[in-house]
Amino acid sequence: MAETAVQFELVSPEQLLLSEDVEMVVVPGGEGDFGVLPGHSPMISTVRPGVIHVFASGSVSSRIFVAGGFAEVTGSRCTVLAEEALVVDDIDRAQVETDLQNAVEDLGGASDPTEQKAAEDRASTARAKLAAIDAPVYQ
């Protein structure tokens, strides 16, 4: 193995959030979680709302929640284009619960399909956030 690190980049529309060399990242792909180690075969995947685990020296160094997006993997790089990204420990539980409640209420009152879909998306993002807070940490 020539390389021992993956260059991991996390980008949101507003800014480049993270760019660092890491040992491994686990990304919540559209069709299941996948881990990226150096030398991974190139691929492009969708990302579902969930938690990205960043590994350094054998354990999880940070957990970042993303609300969907896209991931591009090459042998040496892993780029995640996230729609919204938050460090899991920074998520405010009460806030998310209110968001969820509002979204569910909006869903009940939504009249046209676009509104309904927007509310559904918000609700599923909020649920994924809650799941992220409660999820056990990989070791």
């Binding site: 980049e9 980008v11 949101s12 529309p13 507003e14 800014q15 480049l16 792909g29 559209g30 069709e31 996948f34 075969s41 190139p42 691929m43 492009i44 995947s45 969708t46 896209f70 591009e72 090459t74 042998g75 790089r77 780029t79 284009l81």
Partner: protein, 301 residues
């Protein structure tokens, strides 16, 4: 010959104008810094998105089965132009430049027998194009940058464009905005949004590929398969490009306003100097005249 009082009034009025323009310049300068940072911070996302889309698009073997956002409708009869202008004036040639480009483009499209539709962002663009092309304007979107451009606004514009496209209301969509080059120069930049054109994304991509060492021909695995990814990536890319245009345009606006107000402040200063000289000259002439009158009056006795 203006009287002394007239001159005094004019000097005061120019001075207060100067105070306003210099305050506006300061405000624009402060906003410019933030807008520039924001525009620069958003570039990585847009660039990577283009790169990713470029590689997916390149790998789609059968273009006809690709989503229409990529492949187009196969015609180019109806053009939609999205024109990014400002809500407020006093920013030099900013809107005029965009307007000039738009007018030329519309005329050449019309003379080629195409139908043109306009979606205008910003109050100023509407005012500018209303008289000549009022019937082509579909809608005007205002207050997109209050206080700064938001991604949600861009997404709303993009989804509107997508809906129109799905309804078959146009075949080709081009967005035109002022690209931020430096505080003093803005470049009118047209970018074709639909169908997605590789050339538009080409420039940034080449540099990036050279830097990272992986060419556009890396064989990617797709999860899910290409067309499903494209179906998600294309509308997303649209919002990102609109957002980017909004940010660039906003930064350019601040730059243009700063330059225009700097000029205005300087001109006001020159005018004040000129008026003050006039004022002093008139005052002296007046005093001299009075003296002559007194002296000649005394001599006559």
């Amino acid at each position: 010959m203006p009287s002394l009082k007239d001159l005094r009034v004019r000097i005061t009025s120019v001075k207060s104008t100067q105070r306003i323009t210099s305050a506006m310049k300061m405000v624009a300068a402060a906003k410019l810094r933030r807008a520039q940072e924001q525009a620069e911070a958003s570039r990585p996302y847009a660039e990577r998105m283009e790169r990713m889309l470029g590689s997916v698009a390149a790998s789609v073997s059968d273009v006809s089965s690709a989503p229409p956002l990529l492949a187009g409708t196969g015609k180019d009869d109806v053009h939609l132009l999205v024109i990014m202008t400002t809500d407020r004036g006093l920013c030099g040639g900013f809107n005029t430049n965009i307007g000039r480009w738009a007018r030329q483009q519309i005329r050449s499209l019309v003379s080629d027998g195409k139908q043109v539709k306009l979606l205008i962002v910003g109050r100023k663009g509407f005012g500018m194009l209303r008289s000549e092309f009022g019937s082509m304007i579909i809608d005007t979107i205002e207050d997109t940058a209050k206080p700064t451009p938001k991604f949600d606004t861009a997404a709303a514009i993009a989804s509107r464009v997508t809906t129109m496209f799905d309804d078959g209301e146009f075949d080709v969509c081009t967005i035109v905005y002022n690209r931020f080059e430096s505080a003093l120069s803005q470049i009118v930049t047209p970018l074709q949004l639909i169908p997605f054109s590789q050339d538009a994304a080409g420039d940034d991509k080449k540099e990036d590929d050279a830097a990272t060492g992986d060419g556009p021909n890396v064989a990617y695995d797709y999860e899910p398969e290409e067309n499903a990814i494209l179906a998600e990536l294309l509308p997303r890319n649209l919002s990102v490009q609109v957002f980017r245009a909004m940010l660039e345009s906003f930064a350019s606006e601040q730059g243009a306003r700063m330059a225009a107000m700097d000029n205005a402040t300087r001109n006001a200063g020159d005018l004040i100097d000129q008026l003050t000289i006039n004022y002093n000259r008139t005052r002296q002439a007046f005093i001299t005249k009075e003296l002559i009158e007194i002296i000649s009056g005394a001599e006559a006795l």
